[in-house]
Amino acid sequence: MRNKTFRFSSIIEWGTLLISTLLVCFFLVVVLWEIISKGSSVLSWDFVTQVPSEGMTKGGIITPIIGTVLLTLITSIFAIPFGVCCAIYLHEYAEDNWLTRTIRASIRNLSGVPSIIYGLFGLALFVQALQFGTSLVAAGLTLGLLSLPYIITTTEEALMRIPNSTREAALAVGATKFETIKDVVLPSAMSGILTGVVLTLSRAAGETAPILFTGAAFYINGTSGFINQEFMALPYHLYMLSTQHQSIEEVRPIAYGTALVLIIVVFLLNLTAFCIRYKYRKNEN
């Protein structure tokens, strides 16, 4: 008898934790269900290949898709080399002194800075001080700065997984330090670095606040493509359609479609990262 009540109470206790876990999963299900069920009816080949028309109440979203792709490209061109080089410096070269500790503290600090402050910084530096104007390149560089701390952190973690004996072997046969890094360390850390880079880019592709004042436009004619001009981007498009458009109810289906495409883009990038990681672990074993 006593044993039975004991079991009953442990089920309640276990249930409380289970319920909180299920609630968290429920949030994800609600988000996905709402977007997929209402967005999939809009999604079609025409929707992703046509330009917006008639005040964005008709047509597709090819312009924001191209904008987001170009934006992410500029972000990666800037952030990947700088981020990877900085991680190499921190892990392979830097001694443990006050300078290194300051740089590390700055990186931790930078990854906690709200994205809207990066937006302000991009506005002050790229748009105003460097006279790029509100443009694709200004917004791309702003997102690049935002991505920098994440790329550095993930790259350094990837470098840490390479055992020191690998480096010592290369040095022992006469390679210089740079050659060791270029030909031995980076190739073996490549999958780890790629995983981090792709995850960071998926995050940057979904960011809205940093591009609010640095170049995203409500509407542009035709398709974007010039780096010194304003552009349309998927997350900004969704924000505009759901809050700023004159006839919000009329464009709601397009907003659902945009949200679905944005989620698909982000999840595909995440899936890519997952596959790289999976392949890497398999090879390791």
Binding site: V31, P114, S115, I117, T176, F178, L238, Y239, L262
Partner: protein, 296 residues
């Protein structure tokens, strides 16, 4: 390649790598310089005390008012509301994953939480408009549900992945011997969890909460879309609020360059920066304490 050429290449790249390290310092320095310079320009026009304690934010009125207290209060109640939802859910989920879930279930739950973290904030904000807002409106009998409660629910969803991941690491790191000692004296799994595991993991859990707070304070798009953005002093969770981040996002697009109003937005950003920095530093402090404690 000749040996000398290889050596000089080695040196050149050493300096290139080092230069990128300084880029990071320059970035943080640049952000600080921008915030300080513009806030200073603002404080030439408005007294710092009036700015922090002023009860009215109306920069476009006939007599512009630059009191940011309503904005601070808005950010605070939305963040506070978010934490009331996210802390129990986050710790509960973290405890479930760390202590109860089978390895197979873990392999499902962890990617699920990563997926939740991957959803862009603008999509969560959109959900606030199309799902949470009508829900609140019909439950509380309001004309619309764009208010502090809506923002709090969405921010809880945004902060949950951070809280769960960090708290789960902390609970997982509690040494097995602690639990065995507790079982040894006859405690149940639940008693052990509540009285041994969670207290031992407390610094890590506090760190998780602080990092979640930092994330919630700095979040822009969700609150911008879901809280209604009326710059009045809110009196309950059902009032529309305009947070600091939303104020910057809305007004920066409209102000003329280098006016008092323009500088005022940078001054808000400075306060925002200090608040998130405080939350993150506290989080980091507790993480370090936790690591030190368990390294012994």
């Amino acid at each position: 390649m000749k040996y000398k050429a290889r050596l000089s290449l080695d040196v050149v790249f050493k300096y290139i790598f080092k230069a990128t390290g300084f880029l990071v310092l320059a970035l943080l320095g640049g952000i600080l310089a921008m915030l300080i310079y513009n806030s200073f320009s603002f404080f030439l026009d408005v007294k710092p005390l009036d700015f922090i304690t002023g009860m009215e934010w109306n920069p476009t009125g006939k007599v512009p008012k630059y009191g940011m207290l309503p904005l601070i209060i808005s950010t605070t109640i939305v963040t506070f509301g978010a934490m009331i939802i996210a802390i129990p859910l986050g710790i509960g989920t973290a405890a479930f994953i760390a202590e109860y879930a089978s390895p197979r279930l873990k392999n499902i739950l962890k990617p699920t939480i990563e997926m939740l973290a991957a959803i862009p904030s603008v999509v969560i904000g959109f959900l606030g408009i199309v799902v949470v807002s009508p829900g609140i409106a019909s439950l509380a009998d309001l004309s619309n549900g764009l208010n502090a409660l809506n923002g709090a629910i969405l921010l809880a969803v945004m902060a949950l992945p951070t809280i769960i991941t960090v708290a789960e690491d902390a609970i997982h790191a509690v040494p097995k011997t602690y639990k065995e000692a507790s079982y040894g004296v006859g405690a149940t799994k639940w008693q052990t969890l509540l009285n041994v595991v969670i207290p031992a993991a407390a610094p890590g859990i506090i760190a998780a909460v602080m990092l979640g707070v930092g994330r919630a304070i700095g979040e822009t798009m969700t609150v911008l879309m879901a809280t209604g953005n009326a710059s009045i002093l809110p009196s309950s969770m059902f009032d529309s609020v305009k947070t600091m981040t939303a104020t910057i996002a809305i007004e920066m697009g409209e102000v003329p360059y280098q006016t008092t109003h323009y500088f005022a937005l940078y001054a808000i950003a400075t306060v925002l920066f200090i608040m998130t920095l405080g939350a993150n530093l506290l989080g980091e402090y507790f993480i370090n304490r936790f690591r030190k404690y368990h390294a012994q």
